[in-house]
Each structure stands twice: as C-alpha cells, then as structure tokens.
C-alpha cells in the first residue's frame, strides 16, 4: 500500500498543480522523409487552419526543398507565445491588435506588417433551429441561448463591434446590444468552440467568421447573413518575424499568399478579398 500511496501522491501533485492547458504543438505537413529541407515555421490564426494548410501543401509542392510547419491557435495566444520568445518565421494574425502585440514585443517590424485578406461575421444556428433564428433581430429575443467568442479573442472583439454598430444604427433598436448580451450563456475561448457548441445544438445561436462555415453544408449548420451596414470587416495581418533566420524564404511565402493563386485559395475558404 505504501507504494500505491506514493504513486497516488505523485499523481495528485501533478494533477493539482497542472492548471494550465497545453499549448498547441506545431503541426507539420505530413512529410518527414528528408531532413535536408529548410523548415519554415508559421504562426497562424485558428480561423486560417484549413486555408493555410492548403497554401502550405501547395508551397511545398512548388518548393521541394522547403518544409512548412504551422502553429495554429487563437491570435492572442500566438502573440503571447511570440512575446515569450517562441521561434517562428511568419506571424499571421486575425486582427491588427494581436499583430501590434507582436510589434510591442519587438518580434515584428511595424513597417513589415500587411493586410492580406478579410473576413466577416455570420450568425449560425443548429440545422433544426430550436431558437427560431431567421434574422439578426431574433438574437435579441429572450428565448435564444447564445454563445459568443470571449472578448479576449479577436472574433469576440469583432462581435462586440458588430453589436455596437447595430445598436447605433437604431433599426434593430438602440438596446439591441444589451438585449443580445443578456442571452449569452457562454463566452468561448476560441471561435471554433462557438461553432462546435452550436453544431452540437447546445446553444440556439452563435456568431462566427464567414470562413468558419465555408466547408459546412446547410444540413450541418444554418446561417443568417449580417447586413453590411452593421457587419464588420475583419482585417487579417501577416508579417515576417524580425529575428527569423529564413527571412528570404518568409518573404517568398508571404508573396505567395498575396499572389492570385494564394488569394484564390483563401477566397475558396470563405475569406473576403481586399478592397
């Protein structure tokens, strides 16, 4: 029994002290055969996961001597990781604020950062629509259980901006924002968690990026467009990391993102072209 208790002590100590969630490990494109290749490490916003994975595969196909590795996570988390010295070559953020966080940490030169694609918000609901959501106004009715992204996350900040715009406009009522916020049952820690909970039917509605639902059919998720006067235009920023040892390669990948081919892939995944 003594041994059992010692093991128990060790296990419990580990469990009790482990309050933090593990960070996303960099995910690599599925090629490992040769180590001769140069590795390009890209920190990219979670909402870019599918689109950038395809960009990475395409880039590798065109440059056999390059291996592209991604670290996908919430932009705020990536900015934190960069600020704490995580090695990277490129940072792609879902908003300007987090890119500026990397600038503050002196990992990105403010003159290098560029807008490369846009995104918009969309209201989503489970396919059987238990909350009867048909238009943006319906979000303000008390029967709707709403899930939003937390304000720590870019999507959450954009959502607050959209609600503010809608209230100011007045067409949906000047108390639209406060009524909608009263319906919120959870502020999720990333925008994909919002989508999951709505898809599972745990909530009646949620607000996510247009690009998040681009590969889902109407049978999997219902959606309501947010009219352009209220909707926000999310600006995605990309920049090479200043202390990267592969800055030429990084520049080349960034110009690939800006190429027609790169932009077409992003647009295919529901992103909006730059004005």
């Amino acid at each position: 029994m003594k041994q059992r208790t010692i093991i128990l002590i060790i296990i419990t100590l580990l469990l009790v002290t482990a309050c933090s969630q593990k960070d996303n490990a960099p995910t690599s494109a599925p090629q490992t055969e040769s180590d001769q290749r140069e590795t390009l490490t890209i920190f990219a916003a979670a909402s870019l996961t599918e689109a950038f994975s395809e960009l990475g595969e395409l880039y590798e196909a065109e440059h056999p001597n390059v291996r592209v590795m991604f670290n996908f996570a919430g932009s705020q988390r990536l900015a934190q990781q960069l600020a704490h010295g995580a090695p990277a070559d490129i940072f792609a953020s879902a908003n300007q604020l987090q890119m500026l966080g990397a600038v503050d940490a002196e990992r990105v030169d403010p003159e290098d950062m560029e807008m490369f694609i846009g995104n918009q918000l969309v209201i989503v609901y489970p396919p059987d629509n238990p909350g009867y959501v048909r238009r943006p106004l319906d979000l303000s009715y008390p029967i709707v259980d709403l899930v939003l992204a937390a304000e720590e996350v870019p999507a959450g900040q954009y959502t607050m901006k959209f609600l503010g715009n809608a209230s100011q406009d007045g067409a949906l009522g000047s108390d639209y924002k406060s009524k909608v916020l009263e319906n919120v049952v959870s502020y999720e820690e990333n925008v994909r968690a919002v989508l999951s909970k709505v898809q599972l039917g745990e909530a009646d509605a949620g607000i996510v990026y247009e690009s998040d639902i681009s590969n889902l059919s109407p049978l999997q998720i219902g959606s309501v467009e947010i009219p352009s006067p209220f909707n926000i235009y999310a600006n995605y920023y990309i920049a090479p990391v200043t202390d990267s040892t592969r800055s030429e390669l990084a520049e080349d990948f960034i110009s690939f993102v800006f190429s027609t081919e790169g932009q077409d892939i992003l647009i295919k995944y529901g992103f909006l072209p730059l004005f």
């Binding site: 128990l8 419990t12 469990l15 002290t17 933090s20 705020q76 720590e152 919120v184 959870s186 745990e202």
Partner: protein, 293 residues
C-alpha cells in the same frame, strides 16, 4: 485487499487518542538502518526534483507583488471567480462524499459484482484528458445528449449552469475520495467488527459506530484531495459548462483567459489557487499527523 498488513499502527491498535499519538512515532526511527553518509546522498539526490517543483511556483510569487494581489482581489470578476470556485468545489466535494461513501464501502468489501471492472472504471476519469470527460458529459447531459432531451422536457437545463460545473468537477475528482475511503474501510480490523457483531450490533450500527469512526481520517484526506483536484478542474468545465463570468467561470477558467488579455488577473488567481491548495493539503497532513495522503 492485503492492505491490513501494512496498515498504519494507530488503526490497528486501540482507538483512544492518547494511544494513537503515542504509537504514531515511526518505529523505523528507533533502529536507524540508514547511515549518515547515505542519508546525505539521498538528500542531495532529492534536490533536483524538489527544485523543479519549487522554482515555477516561486517564480509566480516573484512575478507579482502582495500589493498587486490585494488590488486584483478587489476586482469584481476575480471575486466572482473565487466565489464560484469555492461554492462549486465545496458542493462537488459534498456530493462525492455523500454518494462516494457507499460505493467506496462496496468496493472495499467486495459487495458489488464485477468489482474489478468498477474499480477500474472509477480510475478512468483521473487518467483521461479532462477534455474527454467534458465531451462525454456533453454527450450524456447536454441538450442533445442521451438524457438531455428528457431533462429539457422537464425544464431542467444543465449545460452552461453552475450545476454543469459541479458535475464536471465531481466526475473528475470524486475518484480521489472513493479510492482513499475504500482503502480506509479495507484496513479496519475485521476482528473488531466480529466482536461488535457478537455484542449484538447490527450491520448498520457496526458501520456507523465502528467502521466510520475508524476510517474518518482516510475519508477526510480523500475528501480534501477531491476538493483540491476539483479546484484545479479546467478542461471538462470549459467544454461542458462553458465560460460565463459570475455563473460558470471558475478560477482556472479565469486564469486561462486572463493569460491572453490580462496577465495580472492570471497571476493573482494562480497565486490564490496555489495558496488554497497548499494550505488545505498542509493542514490536513498536520492535522492527521500522517504523511501519506
């Protein structure tokens, strides 16, 4: 269980407190078999692990000042997180004790069919990633879960409420109590029970007046472990109960989100959490005069 052989001396002897204190002195110390040289060596070899445990915790304390804690502690969202954490973990611990005690006794005395299977089942939540537990709870008790539909008709909503927080904590942490209590029950001397039975005590009386008092220290230490683990619960909570300040946002959730926007919040709550857990564990160890929780 063969635990009886290795039971702490005080559980095998008389239950009189004076006697317990007396027999608590470790018999090994009377006949030292470890020579001073070897003792030094072991102490030295223990250092790396001790330092490894201490440095991150000390760094947390160094990165923030007591002034910072006090000013952060007066912020409403931090008070809310602390209050919700304390409230939910206390209820989760009570539930674990109330419903875990019969199960622990059944396991200790082999009163259940398939005991080994159930015993392993209880271990599962402690080794599974908490996220798995969260998804499983959602599948069972979420709105579209196995029982969710029925509960929904009855007007009971669990997801996104403090009840969901308590359920997540209980699911993850109850095993600590059940395991400890079960060991406590198993090492009660059967001869005492037989004597009680000969003196006319019913099974319930034997359990209530003999087994429970003899196992209370094991139960208490198990309950504290359950409480401390519940206090740190994160993964299952954020998936099953969501995150809403003042309703389901416990300290670990506030720390995780605070890390991304407000590092001060995260640091303060981390210090509070460590303080609570450390004090609780230390108190119980002191109180029970034993080193094995």
């Amino acid at each position: 269980m063969t635990a009886t052989k290795h039971a702490p001396p005080f559980l095998l002897g008389s239950t009189a407190p004076a006697d317990r204190a007396g027999s608590n002195a470790h018999p090994v110390n009377k006949f030292p078999t470890i020579r001073p040289g070897f003792r030094r060596l072991v102490q030295l070899a223990s250092l790396p692990m001790l330092i490894f445990f201490m440095v991150p915790l000390a760094a947390l304390l160094l990165r923030s000042s007591p002034n910072q804690w006090l000013s952060s502690l007066s912020q409403p969202h931090i008070i809310q997180a602390v209050a919700i954490s304390l409230g939910t973990t206390l209820i989760a611990t009570l539930v674990s004790v109330l419903f875990g005690t019969p199960l622990a006794f059944a396991l200790a005395r082999d009163l259940l069919p398939l005991r080994r299977v159930f015993d392993t089942l209880i271990d599962l939540p402690t080794v599974l990633p908490p996220a798995v537990a969260g998804i499983a709870l959602l599948m069972a008790f979420g709105r579209r879960g196995v029982f969710g539909g029925t509960l929904d008709i009855l007007g009971i909503h669990i997801a996104f409420t403090p009840i969901a927080v308590i359920m997540a904590q209980t699911f993850i942490a109850a095993a600590f109590f059940i395991k400890a209590a079960s060991i406590g029950f198993a090492i009660v001397d059967r001869e005492l029970e037989q004597a009680a039975g000969l003196d006319g005590a019913s099974s319930w009386q034997t359990f209530r007046y003999l087994i429970l008092p003899l196992s209370w220290s094991a139960m208490l230490s198990g309950a504290v472990m359950t409480w401390a683990r519940a206090l740190g619960e994160f993964g299952a909570t954020i998936i099953f109960a969501g995150n809403f300040a003042g309703r389901t946002q416990t300290m670990p959730l506030a720390i995780y989100l605070g890390f991304e926007l407000n590092l001060d919040t995260a640091l303060t709550l981390s210090v509070v959490l460590i303080g609570f857990a450390f004090l609780a564990l230390l108190l119980v160890k002191q109180f029970l005069h034993r080193d094995w929780i």
